[in-house]
């Protein structure tokens, strides 16, 4: 049990809410670059890649950088790549730079983040695991669950009303 909890905490340490999963964190040219992905876990379709750029020395966020996100995967021996600028406008947390990236298939991808700031350019890269698209019925389960739940509540409602009517009926002579 203890081992399980320790393993869980270690895995959870690599996860963050809202910003998404922490995919890679590397230092380059005096910049600390962290890449997050969402949804959690990352699946085929449109994914959000968010980048945090910090000064490696004091961890202060750098907000005036130019950030480019590349994702690539091998298809039949050829490398297919998508490159998109990541911006504050796309991010809900304005300390991050975000881009909506189309992952056209599940599998092993490679993500590269290029950052240009104050004359410095840095590039970090790492693997990205993209899971197959979730069946819509699982992705939107609350919308399908609400129907049987409301039908059950309606049935209960009718039963209660019927019981009340029987209860309030005058006794038979």
């Amino acid at each position: 049990m203890g081992r399980f909890i320790a393993a869980f905490l270690l895995a959870a340490a690599l996860l963050l809410a809202d910003g998404g999963t922490l995919q890679l964190q590397k230092q380059s040219e005096g910049l600390l670059i962290t890449l997050f992905s969402s949804p959690v876990p990352l699946r085929a379709g449109t994914g959000d890649l968010s980048v945090m750029v910090q000064d490696a020395k004091d961890h202060s966020p750098i907000l005036d950088a130019h950030v480019l996100v590349h994702v690539a995967r091998k298809v039949n021996g050829e490398i297919r790549e998508v490159a998109l600028p990541a911006t504050h406008a796309k991010a809900s947390n304005k300390m991050l730079y975000a881009a909506d990236v189309p992952f056209d298939a599940a599998g092993d991808w490679r993500a590269t983040v290029d950052v240009a700031s104050n004359g410095k350019t840095a590039s970090v890269s790492g693997p990205l695991r993209v899971l197959p698209k979730q069946p819509p019925i699982l992705a939107y389960w609350p919308f399908f669950l609400v129907i049987p739940v409301l039908i059950v509540l309606f049935t209960l409602n009718r039963w209660l009303k019927r019981r009340r009517q029987i209860g309030s009926a005058p006794p038979l002579k």
Partner: protein, 735 residues
Amino acid sequence: MDSALNAAALSWPIDAPTVLILALAALVFVRGWMRGRRLLRESDDSMRLLSFFAGLATVFLAVDSPLDAFDSFSLSAHMTQHLLLIMIAPPLILLSRPVLPLLRGLPKRFVKEGLAPFLTWKPLRRFLAWLVSPVVALLIFAGSMIGWHLPFFYELALSSPGWHRLEHATFFWANIIFWWHVIQPGPGKSKLPRWTAIPYLLAADIVNTAVSASLVFAGKLLYPSYGAVHTGSMTLLQDQSFAGTIMWVPGSFIYLLPVAAIAVSMVSSPNRRKARPVLVSAAERARRKALRFRIPASKFPLLRRLSQWVLLLVAIAVMADGFFGPQVTAINMAGVLPWVHWRALSVFALLVLGNLFCMACPFTLVRDIGRKVLPAKLHWPRRLRSKWVAIGLFVLYLWSYEALGLWNSPWLTAWVMVGYFAGALIIDGLFRGASFCKYVCPIGQFHFVTSLLSPREVGVKRPSVCESCHTHDCIRGNEHARGCELDLFQPRKSGNLDCTFCMDCVKACPHDNVDLISITPVKAIAADPYRSSIGRLSKRSDFTALALIVVFGAFVNAAGMVSPVMSWEHDGFSSKLMVGAFILLGVIVAPAIAFLLARAANRLVLPSRELSSAARRFALALVPVGIAMWAAHLLYHFGTGWMAAVPVVERAITGVVILMSMPSVPGWLTQAQLGLLDAGLLLTLYIAWHVATQYATRLRAALTLAAPWTLVSFALYAAGVWILFQPMQMRGLMH
């Protein structure tokens, strides 16, 4: 301002469903609060309103503000969020004594029929009383407070948005339960003495102190996630200690303040009782009701004329652009405004307010002008006094929309509009009344069917006034206004069918007794009263066919824009024929088979003489799921392309294409579409059940009767879900 602070201040991760829920809660509370003010003498309760709004604002601040954007980077931000959800929002909401205003704010019928059986159910009442009893509430409070702050569960919440939402929901609801005993918002009074709240609050403060102190004095990082990313000037441990302090100091203050207040109140006024609110008289209620802001009915005709002129000018501009502008859909007004905006907005207006487009119809304005020179003396042929011509035109529209690519051709769109103006002018120029609207216009028929779900209708305010009226100006007209051109006699009019909201009856009524009134939307389908100029819908095959074609047309029209169907239609030898075959199958053959099979299945329960009338009524019950599909489909176009109006109008005015709209699908869209489809299915099931109970009194017979129609509704729902999950073609955009 520091740029990081500036970035933080701009980070508002607005979550549409949360905002919608908070807005709905606010709306229902305000409605109920205003009703309470009208009914009760005690009306000085502005503080209740303020308190409820402050509570909702606190929830918004906790879950949709920069606090939420930064809760995964800073434990202090996260603890502030928890503080708001645990200690601020719940007591503020309960201080507003929200139960009665919320119940008063909901539709009366829903409260009486839907909620009352639950609210008066003794086991449920006992369970709720047990839930808010001090020991149980304190245990729930402590369990949620300690449980979620244990590293295992805290990390679980950080690891997934779903768990994170559950954590916040637990905090909020556990503390609604906790604060109930302290505030006692009613209705009803606790049997326990008031002093019991003092040890109760002290116990809560001890729990809060223990949790806070464990953060302040831990000496090591309790939640490893915060070690992965670190920002700002504080070290991770300082951040953790600060988070604990936030919980501890203001938290203790919040628990101890009511302790002091209760102690003082017990000492100062032990027997003081609050005066019970007294109901106001009927005359006073009417006076207060009259003070509500509303547009007087006498202004409706003027508003109608004004809106008709506005739409006429827009229509002229659209036609001109369609004929003479660039034949590129995305930069032409005729390629964007009718298909992306007008269709969606008219359906939403129908569902929220009423038949506003027919009210503002520019075609009838031209017809009215034309009638000054045209005779309009003939009577519409008796054989054509039904919906069959309009049904044929509606099917033709569904076919031409896809086969001729109406949506993709500004030129053809402009021609359709010209055809409409000409049709309205010629038909109503030759024939009496509003024959075009009643028997020909396919858009009008679509609106009539959709308006069965509208919450408003033009109706009689006081039926007793009509009983003593002998002039019947609402249908015959007088020197000031013409009567109803669609032959709807107000005292016998029921629902919105065939009503164009022209307001002629409002203007003509000498007793000022016709107005825009609120109705229960499903009632118009669930009941089958005699309707003026229509009769009973259970006797009208043309209305059944119209309803089925509108319902099945929704799915066929939406399916025509998804990849699998498009490739099937266009990969064959002739796309026009294939589209024709698809429309024929989907709009005529499929509903006919479904109708006949379900009708045949009803033989198990019903005698032959009742089969047709029951089947017609069940067919009408399908309207909600069909209209929901139309709304979901049109919402897709509107949600993805509403901004396309800006560059199109800019181009039409300046002649220069300044900005092209790029396709993008908002994150909330699929959820909203599924929500609409769910609502449509549930309404359909409810109406089908209601109709079944009118034909069969025994439960088993009613279930057997409704079963085949329930299957049809579920099949339609499944088709709708399948369509919504397919890759869809956008309209009016560059892609």
